[in-house]
Symmetry: C2
Subunit: 682 residues, 2 copies
């Protein structure tokens, strides 16, 4: 694959990628692919700002991790900014290290010129307070000759008398600490009880506030919600790239990595577990005052710099008393070191459906040492605990309305139904709708095009980038600093290209172009359309959409549309009452554009609702309400999973669905949104 | 303490001890204290048979582990027989290393001239088969498109349909292995289920026999019973010294060690856990063919030498699917790393009474990785799970008869009662009845005097040693090879000294001696009585009993008698219907002698029953019958613990009880056993 003088580079966490000539520095490569790395000194190797971590090799889905170095030799100057430990972990200066082969490069937060926008924020959903872990305050009598009852029985007798908690057990590690906590607290303690069943922590005195964390492990992004379990308040939302991305971008390539490497499962699991630990640490760190480096007697020291008048919770991992996890079935299995092989092979049986309660310590997850991690149940091999999370957050099974729920991540998951029946399915949308595999695709970060308009008369383009209020038409070219197109921009792009007549229903460029933005790429002869001219960009290149890009987006939208349609056919319905779009994608989507582009069957625009990271909301609901856990187990076994690829006419349906909009279906709600002559194209 | 030119030495596991002059070799010291170490070459440093492990320092109850070497320098010859690893572990050759200070010396099995007699053998008690872990064989259908149910649900649905097991959970580590076991076994598997609740192992094919281990952790001795859980057969009994002996001989000194050392609890716990792991390994090893060392291409190799026609179970630790543990409250707490401090302080509350089910892996105990260890409940601070074991083995609460159960180990535990009421107590018998703290006391091993008769007319002594059928009077002097006196011999000794009139009721030597066996020790002027003349011994010394020895035995028997009597007073009874003697001591005891000596209140001789290691039997009952576990929890909370030392007249009662027999009590059943003139002494 590819020219031997060129190498493939991917920058994380932005996900930007390209082939670049071998021999250029990482900084130079970052410019070519539109990634901003700090270079204060202008590459004079003296500021150390351009520190990056190089993760070599393994790109190809079925490739093998290469042991040959893909960067140039270590330079003396790098030693001034990179410790021995960091060096061992793969850190280099971007201005020193040259690209000698395929590279995966991680740009740490502090080396990035623009900070990524976290789109997996917590949404307000109504949750009734009834968490699995509850706090009980009790005061005990001290032991005496008249009553020499042991510590544990002394505790549980009062918990039964005052709170009706019967037959309580205690985690062994908490039991070990019991005698000293009781005596240190003069027998006045707060007891954290899991599921009214097991004591998992005993704290001195009365402690009302306590904490838990709900985590959504996506194929690409991991989001965590740190919650006060007493008040249900979300204290912080933190997120990170799934560290498994280096093993493959999608579910199937990770399953393949496991099959090709004896220790593949172990490595991928350990990476995500370690990632979760860092995320938990980060969430706790956020409850402490910021720190500043000062010169101390023994070199540099970090001292706290609390803001005046502000109080800090100062949580540590021991304070995280409960945790819930959602993820698709493959992420679920890999995290739990359950063989994911059969999930990828027909008939795709998972190792387990039901929810699991596993001690954090057994998983290597560092929360309160006696606490459980609750992992939500899986529906089927391709519809996992994340979809169950969406369902318990949205509760379609409680309504009359026929609801279609679309969760677009790296994999598309679909649920259709109401209180009478629910069916689910999955479709291989791929990462195109998230900006990957698109020439100038990038993640939602400053400089990414998020909105596009194309004038049907002139085919002139107007657009807006993340991080800048004013549209292109109200800005000077040099003010834009455009870098690429993110997910919501891509959706706009296809809809606008179609509505304005730049492309035809089939997705091909219209031979009749009205501006100079359309051209053939001189290198490969492919058609392309310029969205932003080089002088508007931070990368000194025209940002274009190619015929191949359009095809990629069509494949994704076709998979999704075809999935929806086949499900409706199975359900025996012609139209849906409501469409809910979940996932980061849903938060930024323009409903009108989604409708025009034909992501899903026709529906009144006001019935299309973006529900944000509903999977994460479901994890949060299960954290704060134990009935939601039961509901999850019920729904996981009562949604009928439908494997769409086995439908006889699947290929034909899929081909038709790639048209914008679907070839033969009716779209009454597109009237007025798209000019008639465009809609009526043959 | 002691002369600066002398050092204290203790040999384990025999427990023999003495002060010896500094500068003699360990072999020489072993002879002086009557311990047999192999010396094939006659101390020419060429055979390597006399390998011992030296554990220095710490003897005094409140002492600190010394870092000064208490042995002479390493000699070149030792290197021929002792590897670097063994050297680091403290191994020396007994003929090379000289005693330079106090020493604790462990004589490994292979260096011992006589093998210790395991007295904690399993007894036949009636147990109904109903173990906590049961095996279920099932055959599953393979997943298909019509039925793509996940592995765990596939398994549990059949277990519910065929065996009525509802709501089964699965241990996480077993879940991890499930998909490959199922497919490897073509979906025909045997499932090990704990408490009809949790799957802890899945084995390919049909597996009927399975295994568990019941362990009694005594203060001094640890005994383990490896059982076939399907047939209830005891496959092997293995035992060892409690490795915590080096921290102190009795319960209080170990609690003190914890209080004096920050890591004391951790060290003592780790030692016993490691000891249990070795014991489990040893039990498994016994189910494999013996091994022989042969010369291979790459040096020495161990090869199996199976006996012809014999089949071997070849168990590994993974095959131990269940485990039960008993021990006194302090041993229980120390093993579980529960602070034992308060167990030693009034009002002696334990950390926990009820039984515990803790994953072996959480304790560091290496059995099947998903299995639980069931720890029986504690009654009170001084009456622990071992006593509960005795109770569920003997079931006094099921009978009308008023039964007194005496468990004599390093600590004495007493239970009195019947189906209407049970009370328990403990008494500080100390280790004298087991042979410790007695000048020529030793454990039950070949050469130990186990039976003694003294002629009332002549005060001549006849005796029998372990390992030889013929009594002294039927043997030549040089045939005896006598080494010391063990527990059962000590009991005979006091009874016979009293019955024959060698000593008086008060325990003092009778001034009217009828043989030349009585003399004053020229070194300390103390009275002593010769049991075996030097020419009958393997240690070339007269084996004597001193006035101090007699006082030690009286203290022990007094504590026991006083305990029994005060309990009877509390219960409001004058006599008991039955006396059961548990513990290793009980197995060897001569009932008549125990009665004469006044170990417990008067009782018809036929109503005195030795019940062996009933604590271990209880552990075994709990291993094989889950109802016994419930019974144990019930009985632990329904036995009333009585602290005897707080009784007003305790001191007076104790003093009176030291008399042989009790000063004022009536002993109708001694009539005929002891001459009237002896009984009627004032």
């Amino acid at each position: 694959m590819g020219d031997k003088d060129r190498a493939k580079v991917i920058f994380q966490p932005s996900g930007r990628r390209d082939e670049v000539p071998k021999g250029i520095t990482i900084i130079e490569a970052s410019r070519r692919v539109g990634v901003d790395i700090e270079t204060l000194c202008g590459e004079k190797k003296v500021c150390g700002k351009c520190k990056v971590r190089v993760e070599e090799g393994f790109f190809e889905k079925f490739g093998i991790h290469s042991s040959i170095s893909h960067t140039s030799e270590w330079q003396e100057e790098e030693g001034k900014f990179i410790t021995e430990e960091e060096r061992a972990a793969g850190y280099r200066l971007g201005c020193c290290a040259k690209v000698e082969g395929d590279l995966l490069i991680f740009v740490p937060e502090e080396s990035r010129a623009g900070k990524q926008v976290v789109s997996k924020a917590a949404r307000d959903i109504a949750i009734e307070w009834d968490p699995a872990v509850k706090h009980y305050y009790i005061e005990l009598k001290e032991p005496s000759f008249d009553d020499p009852t042991g510590d544990f029985e002394r505790l549980t007798e009062v918990l039964e008398a005052e709170y009706g908690l019967k037959g309580l057990e205690i985690d062994y590690l908490t039991l070990m600490k019991l005698p000293s906590v009781l005596r240190g607290a003069k027998f006045k303690v707060t007891v954290a009880v899991w599921m009214d069943k097991e004591i998992i922590r005993v704290l001195p005195g009365e402690v009302k506030d306590y904490y838990g964390i709900a985590i959504d492990v996506g194929t690409t992004t991991v989001a965590a919600y740190l919650c006060n379990m007493a008040t249900m308040e979300v204290i912080d939302t933190v997120s990170m790239m799934n560290p498994q991305c280096k093993y493959g971008e999608d579910v199937m390539s990770r399953i393949t990595f496991h099959m090709m490497h004896e220790d593949g499962l172990e490595r991928m699991s350990n990476d995500i577990i370690e990632g979760l630990n860092k995320l938990i640490e980060q969430a706790c760190e956020g409850t402490h005052p910021p720190k500043k480096k000062v010169k101390g007697d023994n070199g540099d020291e970090w001292v706290e710099e609390p803001e005046e008048g502000k109080t800090y919770l100062r949580l540590s991992r021991d304070d995280i008393e409960d945790m819930t996890l959602v993820g698709n079935t493959a992420m679920h299995h890999i995290l739990l070191k359950l063989n994911p092989e059969y999930v990828g092979l027909a008939p795709f049986p998972p190792v387990v459906h039901r929810s699991l309660d596993i001690k954090g310590r057994d998983l290597g997850i560092r929360i309160n040492e006696s606490s459980y991690v609750h992992i939500l149940p899986n529906e089927a091999g391709f519809v996992g605990a994340d979809n169950v999370g969406v369902l318990i957050a949205e509760e379609p099974y409680k309504n009359e309305e026929m609801t279609l729920i679309i969760d677009i991540g790296t994999n598309g998951e679909l649920v259709l139904g109401n209180k009478d029946k629910l069916i689910s399915s999955s479709c291989a949308t791929g990462p195109a709708l998230e900006g990957a595999q698109i020439t100038f695709g990038m993640r939602a970060a400053p400089g990414a095009i998020e909105r596009i308009k194309i004038d049907p008369e002139t085919h002139e383009v107007d657009y807006k980038v993340i991080g800048r209020e004013a549209w292109r038409s109200y800005s000077k070219a040099e003010e834009m600093n455009t870098k690429g197109i993110c997910g919501s921009g891509i959706l706009d792009l296809l809809a606008e290209l179609y509505r304005s007549g730049v492309i035809l229903k089939s997705g091909r460029f219209n031979p009749k172009q009205k501006s100079n933005r359309y051209r053939k790429n001189p290198e490969n002869g492919q058609g392309e359309f310029v969205i932003a001219w080089a002088n508007e960009t931070a990368i000194d290149k025209d940002i274009v959409v190619t015929q191949k890009d359009i095809r990629q987006i069509q494949l994704a939208k076709g998979a999704l549309y075809c999935g929806c349609k086949l499900m409706m056919r199975r359900m025996g319905i012609e139209k849906v009452d409501k469409v809910k779009i979940a996932g980061a994608f849903g938060t930024h989507v323009d409903r009108e554009k989604a409708l025009i582009m034909g992501l899903f069957p026709d529906c009144p625009i006001e019935s299309i609702i973006a529900v944000g990271n509903a999977a994460g909301d479901g994890a949060r609901a299960a954290l704060l309400n134990v009935e939601k856990r039961k509901e999850a187990n019920w729904v996981a076994r009562n949604v009928e999973y439908i494997e769409l690829t086995v439908e006889e006419d699947f290929q034909q349906q899929f081909m038709q669905a790639m048209q914008i909009p679907h070839m033969t279906d009716n779209f009454p709600h597109l009237k007025g949104l798209v000019p008639d002559h465009i809609l009526n194209q043959k």
